[in-house]
Structures are given as C-alpha cells and as structure tokens.
C-alpha cells in the first residue's frame, strides 16, 4: 500500500517539486527525441525497441509528476503540454536533436546509466513515495541499459565508419552530460535530509561504470570535460521547435478527453 508521505517544510516542498519536475522534463524530452525515430529506425526491431524505451521514460515522467500532484495538485498533462520552452526545466543534454543512430544510442546509454544508478540510490529515500517510484522504475531501466550498452559496443567495434560516428557522438555529447549532475536549487538540503540521493556518490558510481566500458571495452577516447554549464533555465534553440510539435494537438484541442 502507498505509505503516507512525511511532513515537509515549505522550503523542502518547493525544492522537491523543482527536482521532480526536472526529472520528469528530462524524461519527456528524451522520450520525444526517441519517438522521432518511429518509422525511421535502421531496422524494424530497433524501431520497436526505441519506441518501447521512450514509452517507459514517459511512464517514469508520469510517476514523477504524480508525486508532484500529491504535493501541489498540479496536472501532469497541463505541465507537459502547455508550458513554454522558458518554463521547461529539461537539461540541454536531452534537448539536442536526435542526430544519427550512434548519437541517439550513445545519448540514451549515458542517460540510462545515470537514471538507473540515480534510481537505485533513490530506493533508499526517506521520502517513502519516492522510494516506491524508484523501486518500480529501476526494474524497467535495467532493460534499457542492457540494450543501449550493447549498441554502443556494437557501433564502436563495428566498421571504421560506425566507430568514427560513435566517437563524434561522444565528443559532441560529453560537454553537455555534466548538466545531469547539477543540483537544482535547494537539492543540497534534500540530499542532507536523506530525501534525495547524493549526486556526487551517484556520479562516482556512474563514472566507474561507463568510463571503463567506453574506453577499455569500446576503444573510444574520452574528450576533456566541458566548461561549467549554465543551469536548467537556459535551453538550446532546439527545445522550442520540439515543444511546438509535441504540444500541437493538445493546444489545438485542449478540452478533448483522450481516455
């Protein structure tokens, strides 16, 4: 049964809402990018796989926004379909256009590893509703990571062309990935109180997992880390056109019940 939520201070509640929204926004935008491959992936099985992964990520966004609804009564659909680019809090890492297959697989891989490890740590949250969500989503995320890790390996060890494209993708993505480790405003307090995972600890585990895989196993060269990134209020120019497409139907027919 769903456990009663603990009492939060106003400051904690505001910070938790910010974090849940940022988590959901990353999932929504990445799912939309994944969905752009539907009907266009190199082979049918991969078309299906990527659509599955995108659907799972949307499911996770739904879980996070349900936690937010319990705190402030907000509506998940309204949040996803009526906010403008300025109001979204997605990381630029997930906003970048889908690129080629190597770019898509490598981004999904870096993200899946981050998400799986963050969720694994969030299973121990003292905020029971988040621990429950993490327990559920973690079990699904394992399948993603298995799949995308294999693809990165396949591409990196494939032909000179696929190797080059994978290295290019890593060079392009690496400067952006650091944003996933930036705390939202007030996150430090929630980490201290045991509500959220320690980002530095998750990052250490993430590096321990993906760096040897990318370099030793896949033979890729890790580019130097990028400069300090601005926060989640700064977006790429790619976000607005993405939202235009994603929100078009909802905006045209806001009162249409679809279930």
């Amino acid at each position: 049964m769903t456990a009663p939520a603990m009492t939060l201070s106003d400051v904690q509640q505001a910070a938790l809402i910010r974090k849940l929204t940022a988590l959901a926004d990353d999932e929504i935008i990445l799912a939309q990018r994944g969905g752009e491959w539907t009907g266009h992936a190199p082979i049918l099985e991969e078309d299906i796989a990527l659509a599955n992964i995108a659907q799972d990520e949307l499911g996770h966004a739904g879980l996070y926004l349900e936690l937010r609804r319990a705190l402030d009564g907000s509506d998940a659909d309204a949040l996803a379909f009526t906010r403008s680019a300025d109001e979204f809090t997605s990381a630029r890492f997930v906003e970048l256009p889908k690129g080629d297959w190597a770019f898509t697989m490598l981004r999904q891989y870096l993200y899946d590893a981050y998400e799986a490890l963050w969720l694994d740590a969030a299973r121990k949250s003292v905020y029971e509703p988040l621990a429950e969500v993490a327990n559920k989503a973690f079990r699904e995320e394992r399948f993603h990571l298995q799949h995308t890790a294999l693809w990165v390996e396949r591409l990196a060890l494939g032909t000179p062309e696929s190797m080059k494209r994978t290295q290019d993708a890593l060079n392009a993505l690496w400067p952006y990935v650091g944003q996933l480790w930036q705390p939202v405003e007030g996150e430090g307090g929630l980490i201290e109180a045991g509500l959220l995972p320690d980002l530095n600890a998750v990052k250490t585990r993430w590096e321990g997992l993906i760096v040897p895989h990318l370099t030793v196993q896949c033979g890729l060269i890790l580019p130097p880390g990028g400069a300090e990134q601005p926060g989640r209020d700064t977006h790429t120019e790619d976000l607005a056109p993405l939202l235009d497409e994603m929100q078009r139907v909802y905006r045209a027919h806001p009162d249409t019940p679809y279930w």
Binding site: M1, T2, E45, D56, E57, E132, R139
Partner: protein
C-alpha cells in the same frame, strides 16, 4: 443509503475480476497476471479494488482501471474506487501457473523466474512455445508491448514473443 447487495462478497468480486481480460493479452485476466492486490468492501457497500501496474508506461492501464470498475459495478456495488499501488512492485513471478500454460498455447513464452539481486542458477531458459525447443534466439530485446521480447526458434523456424522476467 443504499442497502448492501447480498451478492457483494469479496469472493464474488474476486470471481468477477477473474473474468476481466488483460487488454493486450486477452487469454489471461487481470487476476491471472497478479495485478489485483486487494479487495475491500466498506460498511456502506462501496468497494475499493487496489491494483498494481505491470509497467509504469503501459498504455493499457486506463483501460484496465475502467474495466475493473465496470465489472464490480455490474455486481451492484454502489461505488467503486480503483486505487493503484506501486509497492511491492509487480513481478512476473505473480503470474499464475495455469495462466502461464495459456500464454504458451497463445504463442507467448512465459517468463522465467525473475532475478532480484543474485542470479538464479536453476532459472528455466526460454523455450519455443510451439515446439518446446530450447534452440531459440532473441531477435529483439523489446517487443510489441512493454512486457515482451522477440525471439525466433531455430528448430521450427517460427518467430515468437516471450515475456520479460521482471
């Protein structure tokens, strides 16, 4: 105040839920899948059914919730609330034994025991639901629904779907 319908017993509710099909795999019911976790009847005859989603992004969840409500209302319940819970998280280990056989007859390989933590050394390997051969290959680690993967049998050459073990 509505009088409680005499036929409104927990047994009757569980029995009617046994007839609510999984919308994506109609040969099994929501109870076969282990999705219904609890049934409560309040003093005023209002029924609360607690169910747990299989996959959090499953698009059939709304249909399942509506079908459960409709089935229980059909027994004469004055009010039905369908609650969802995530704890404990759903596992394919909850799929009933006879439902596994129906899945196999339908052409879907039933799930092997789920691994939570340590690997299981005696886990059943996936076998072809048609010819029972173990000579199978996974052709896609994802399938037409979130809960399944794609395989092909190298013995009888048939492609088939298999449940993920979650």
């Amino acid at each position: 105040m509505t009088a409680i319908q005499p036929q409104l017993t927990p047994q009757a509710i569980w029995a009617v839920l046994d007839t609510v099909p999984d919308p994506e795999i109609p040969v099994v019911s929501v109870t076969d899948m282990g999705m219904v976790r609890d049934v409560q009847i309040g003093e005023d005859g209002a029924v609360t059914v607690t169910f747990t989603p299989t996959f959090s992004g499953c698009p059939a969840l709304h249909v399942i919730r509506d079908s459960i409500g409709e089935a229980v209302r059909g027994l004469g319940a004055s009010a039905v609330e369908v609650k969802s819970t995530l704890t404990p998280p759903w596992t394919t280990d909850w799929i009933k034994e006879d439902a596994r056989e129906r899945l196999r007859q339908y052409g879907i390989a039933p799930p092997a025991p789920a691994e939570d933590g340590l690997i299981q050394l005696q886990a059943d390997a996936t076998r072809c639901p048609r010819c029972a051969s173990f000579d199978v290959r996974m052709t896609g680690s994802f399938g037409p629904t979130l809960c399944k993967r794609l395989y092909v049998c190298d013995s009888c050459k048939e492609p088939f779907e298999g449940f993920k073990s979650v």
